[in-house]
């Protein structure tokens, strides 16, 4: 088949998302909108203690409560579901005991599900749980990061010699030599508090076991339907083809909805046990207590430079509070391991030492939240860069420019083992200088300071490793797919129906896929419908994670589209008696070399469906294709960019206000700038939340003190600055579309940009901050007030 030069018409255009019209009109169908006949509602009694033994359980009164069908403890469920244990060849020796859907005689974190009640209504189920009687014996808890790792700390689980979940040391080059011979060594310690994703729609599902057909259907607010299909089959002892996972409209994922949660598995097990549909919707209290948490890192890092201001290397000592278990299936070390190895990623350096220790704690599990690990590495790196520039008395942008990894396709392997290619730091920084009108911003800061206001400007460069390849989880023995599949057919109307293994979770990936299909085949984008999320309807693939929708999902769609285009033209040529090479498909019409319309796609579809005898003898038109795509080289696609923040610090109250934010992103070819820009803005807002507001605080006894949105502060629209965005495009050379990931880049650099801006404002007052979130009391303390 010849491959004519692709013409991009829809690809690259800022087309509004077709799917949002339905959502805006209130026609969205989220999992809580689904009600099945005979459906029960699950509510959980969760451990009030961080660590406690269950001495005795008396469920008699709870089970007698009106409107309640059942109240179960772990013993009641173990006949239908088995526990699971997080293991990964990527993290050899990882300590994470088996987890069960309900606590087995002991709870290891506050919020751990202990009992489940199934009621005619959620309220009835909650009423019943108030009647459950549990005798608890509180056990000593290991809570704080340093205290959990201290020699005499209470064991998070019985029998453990210490609370180290996993540790590693990694070396690149000759760090000792580099630091000994350095002209300048700068050092910082940075802390990032626990936080979580706070998707607008919480976790939830409706599980429906059909004992007659022996089929389990789970309507699931999730990022990875195929992954859950495999896990559910495994835990419930079913063949995976007997498990159907259907993802309806999803109100945000951010990494929260890609794991296995005990409460969800318990609810599904109840549906199987009772042979009645069961709904479980986490409320906000449950979300904050039991969604995966992220962060809780304490990093001590040093950077060595030579006399010319070239970065020689990094020495990083990294501690991470992992929680009571390692999240299944990926493992909690993913975040800190990524953070460790991403230190210094925008810059050339040859020498690296990294030490990582992950603590078990009697707290909720930590997992992979948007931009996994990157924000930590960017905070550490960009803080060190600022310190070095200050120590050298030079403009921090000059120091950055001197050290940027080179552009171009030739990979650069840095001391920490990162393979970087196709990056464009200098071009992005120049674009930022234009976008922000840097001289004007500097004037504004100067003028405000002269008037007594504490303005600050901060910059953060970043690399975002996107679109993870199969070797990462495949070689770790973790069944997370890095491939995507697409089935694509011509419908009788001439429209195209695309079933894709990417998951639409509100990020708009279906729009990007539609644009790729439209151009790949040669139809108007309005003629493409994209369907996702149902394992019974869409082919197998990875779903939504690692900013992979454009780079892998849309690439799969493009390749499917090119094949379908070939099939269409082959069929048309047979029908028209024309040379296949001479035909083109344009805006849904088959045209000859002069551009004359020869055949409508809808007519071709009709002939294939109803009058197939019009084709030459023996020819069978193939107006459907299935295409599977896995990138066969480059484990990650490095996207890169730079962000800048302008902030004002109130020196009397300690409050910080974000005044303006700028972002330049190079995510390869931009399939739809609107999608990329809104992904960036959303990520930046979450990054500002991380920098200024969000903190999951536990008391010393392991009690979560920020259990509602009154205490856990999320960024709100009123406080958010205008966010200006510009693009630099360095298409990935190893794919047809050339797209890299864009979904997480906003979150990667915003915290560091804000921290650097605040420290710029405080520098004139001799103060500096190194912990996120930046609280007003921390600001005043730094100022000595």
């Amino acid at each position: 088949m010849r491959e004519p030069r692709a013409r991009f018409q829809a690809v690259g255009q800022p087309l509004p998302r077709a799917g949002t019209r339905r959502l805006i009109a209130g026609r969205g169908r989220y999992v809580d909108d689904i009600a099945l006949p005979r459906m029960l509602h699950a509510a959980f009694l969760r451990s009030p203690y961080a660590h406690a033994r269950i001495v005795q359980v008396d469920l008699a009164r709870a089970r007698a409560a009106p409107g309640v069908l059942a109240v179960f403890a772990w013993d009641d469920l173990q006949a239908v579901v088995r526990p699971w244990q997080t293991r990964s060849a990527a993290f050899p020796g990882l300590v994470s005991p088996p987890q069960s859907p309900l606590a087995r005689g002991r709870s290891a974190w506050q919020g751990e599900p202990v009992l489940v009640a199934l009621g005619e209504t959620r309220a009835a189920a909650e009423d019943a749980l108030e009647l459950a009687e549990i005798d608890w014996e509180e056990l000593p808890a290991a809570v704080g990061l340093e205290r959990a790792l201290a020699p005499q700390a209470p064991a998070v689980h019985p029998g453990l010699a210490d609370n180290v979940a996993w540790s590693k040391e990694t070396l690149g080059g000759d760090p000792d030599g580099a630091f000994t011979g350095a002209a300048l060594v700068v050092e910082t310690d940075v802390r990032l508090a626990r936080m979580t994703g706070v998707s607008l729609e919480p976790r939830g599902l409706v599980a429906d076991w059909d004992p007659a057909g022996q089929v389990l259907t789970v309507h699931y607010s999730h990022q990875m339907p195929h992954q859950m299909q495999a896990h559910l089959a495994d835990f419930l002892g079913l063949s995976a083809d007997r498990v159907r996972v259907v993802v309806p409209d999803v109100g945000g994922g951010f990494g929260v909805k890609m794991h296995v949660y005990p409460d969800e598995i318990a609810a599904i097990a109840c549906a199987v046990k009772l042979a009645r549909p069961v709904k479980f919707i986490a409320d906000r209290l449950e979300s904050l207590a039991s969604d995966i948490h992220a962060r809780e890192h304490a990093v001590r890092a040093r950077m060595a430079l030579d006399a010319q201001g070239n970065i020689l290397g990094f020495d990083v000592d990294h501690r991470h509070g992992g929680g009571a278990y390692s999240v299944f299936p990926r493992g909690s070390p993913v975040e800190s391991s990524a953070a460790l190895h991403l230190v210094g990623a925008p810059y050339r350096f040859a020498h690296f030492r990294g030490r990582l220790k992950i603590a078990l704690q009697n707290k909720a599990m930590t997992g992979q939240y948007r931009s996994v690990g990157h924000p930590i590495a960017v905070v550490v790196t960009e803080r060190l860069v600022e310190l070095a520039a200050r120590a050298r008395g030079e403009d921090p942008l000059v120091l950055r420019r001197r050290n940027f990894t080179p552009p171009g396709a030739t990979p650069y392997l840095n001391g920490a083992g990162q393979r970087l290619f196709g990056v464009s730091h200098e071009a992005c920084l120049q674009a930022l200088e234009r976008l922000a009108d840097l001289p004007r911003v500097r004037e504004e800061v100067k003028a405000a300071r002269a008037a007594g206001r504490a303005l600050g400007f901060g910059v953060a460069c970043y690399v975002e490793m996107t679109a993870t390849g199969a070797e990462a989880y495949g070689k770790a023995g973790v069944p997370v797919s890095a491939a995507d599949s697409v089935s694509l057919s011509v419908e009788l109307s001439g429209a195209l129906r695309c079933a894709a293994s990417v998951t639409e979770i509100g990020q708009g990936v279906t729009q990007a896929v539609a644009q790729a299909v439209a151009d790949g085949v040669g139809v108007p984008v309005e003629r493409v419908s994209v369907h996702t999320g149902d394992t019974a309807q869409v082919p197998h693939g990875g779903g939504a994670w690692a900013s992979r929708g454009a780079a892998i999902g849309a690439e799969a769609a493009w390749l499917a589209a090119r094949r379908l285009r070939g099939n269409i033209l082959a069929a048309a040529a047979r029908l028209l008696g024309a040379d296949e090479e001479s035909l083109e498909l344009h805006e849904g019409t088959i045209v000859d070399p002069r551009g004359e319309s020869r055949l409508e796609l809808s007519e071709l579809a009709h002939i294939a469906a109803f009058r197939g005898y019009e084709f030459p003898e023996g020819f069978q038109p193939q107006l459907s294709v299935m295409h599977h795509y896995r990138r066969s080289k480059d484990l990650f696609l490095p996207a890169n960019g730079v962000q800048a923040a302008l902030v004002e610090v109130d020196l009397d109250t300690g409050l910080v206000r974000a005044l303006k934010h700028w972002a330049v992103c190079d995510c390869g070819r931009v399939l739809n700038p609107l999608l990329v820009e809104e992904q960036l803005r959303g990520g930046i807002v979450q990054g500002i939340g991380e920098a200024l507001y969000e903190e999951l605080r536990y008391g010393e006894d392991g009690h979560l003190e920020t259990g509602t949105l009154a205490e856990y502060l999320v960024p709100m629209a009123a406080e958010m600055p205008d966010i200006a965005v510009a693009h630099v495009q360095t298409p990935y050379e190893g794919s047809s579309l050339g797209a890299k990931g864009a979904g997480e880049a906003g979150a990667a650099a915003a915290p560091a940009a804000i921290l650097n801006a605040v420290n710029d404002a405080l520098a004139a007052h001799g103060a500096a901050l190194k912990a996120l979130p930046i609280t007003p009391t921390a600001v005043l303390e730094a100022l000595g007030k």
């Binding site: 108030e130 209290l285 409050l655 605080r697 007003p776």
Partner: protein, 271 residues
């Protein structure tokens, strides 16, 4: 979480509401705008057996100006008070404070009386009532009694309201010539409960403070009124207040904010 089951009563008159209060006493909760009560029910922090919905009682939401002041009915929504020209004239402090009360959606439902009867120590309106020396009108089966603001707020979510009494309105004296008003609060995000706030009424001669009623909120178990005849006295009074702190916002920080707010509000007033 979902609220536990409760019985629901929707009286059509004040007498009927009060009869229900008499009948159920402390087992009952009065539902006005529901902006705090409903979350508390859903969090199962409160488990009343009866909810008495006073939304349908005629006349309870009226705002009535008169020569001496203005009466604000208990069911007057924050938005109605905020956008009332009569309130802005008679009690300008309320107009300054109300934009700080939560967000638009909450202000559309939340009520003046509800905010006072709940007595959240971080709430804006109780502090305004205190600064303006408002009077709370409480209705019981035997008739009405009038309680001055300084006696109404008794502690954390504690007021002078008896279990068989209903707050029917708040009477504000008309702003006097020579007095000016200022309001400010410190919060991490707009619409949050304040870490500390100040509702102030002050009489100035030129730019010199002669008399001030300073109601600080968010700093103790109830709004605290400081009276001062000079800026210096006000500063000294702040040092005497017993300020409550938390691990996130310690007492020393809140006391500091009281000083910052005093300076900022007085500066605005003097403009």
């Amino acid at each position: 979480m979902k609220a536990p089951a409760f019985r629901y009563a929707r009286p059509e008159s004040l007498d009927e509401a009060i009869a229900l209060l008499v009948q159920h006493g402390t087992d009952a909760r009065v539902l006005a705008g529901g902006q705090s009560l409903m979350p508390m029910l859903n969090l199962r922090l409160l488990q009343p057996s009866v909810l008495i919905d006073i939304n349908r009682i005629p006349g309870l939401g009226e705002i009535t100006p008169h020569a001496q002041g203005i009466e604000i009915g208990a069911m007057a929504r924050h938005a109605a008070v905020l956008y009332s020209r009569e309130v802005a004239q008679a009690a300008p402090l309320l107009a300054l404070a109300l934009p700080h009360v939560a967000h638009l959606a909450v202000r559309n439902r939340g009520t003046h009386g509800g905010s006072c009867a709940l007595a959240d120590p971080s709430a804006e309106i109780p502090a305004c009532a205190l600064a303006l020396d408002a009077t709370f009108v409480l209705r019981a089966a035997g008739g009405e009694r009038r309680v001055p603001a300084r006696e109404f707020f008794r502690g954390l979510y504690e007021t002078a309201l008896g279990p068989d009494e209903l707050l029917v309105r708040v009477d504000y004296p008309r702003a006097q010539a020579g007095w000016r008003y200022g309001f400010d609060e410190v919060a991490r995000r707009h619409g949050d409960f304040a870490i500390a706030g100040l509702a102030a009424a002050a009489r100035l001669e030129g730019s010199v403070l002669r008399e001030a009623r300073l109601a600080f909120f968010g700093i103790a178990d109830r709004p605290i009124l400081l009276r001062a005849a000079s800026r210096e006295e006000a500063r000294a009074r702040i040092e005497e207040v017993e300020v409550a702190g938390t691990s996130v916002y310690p007492a020393a920080y809140r006391r500091r904010l009281m000083g910052v707010l005093l300076e900022r509000v007085l500066r605005t007033i003097a403009k």
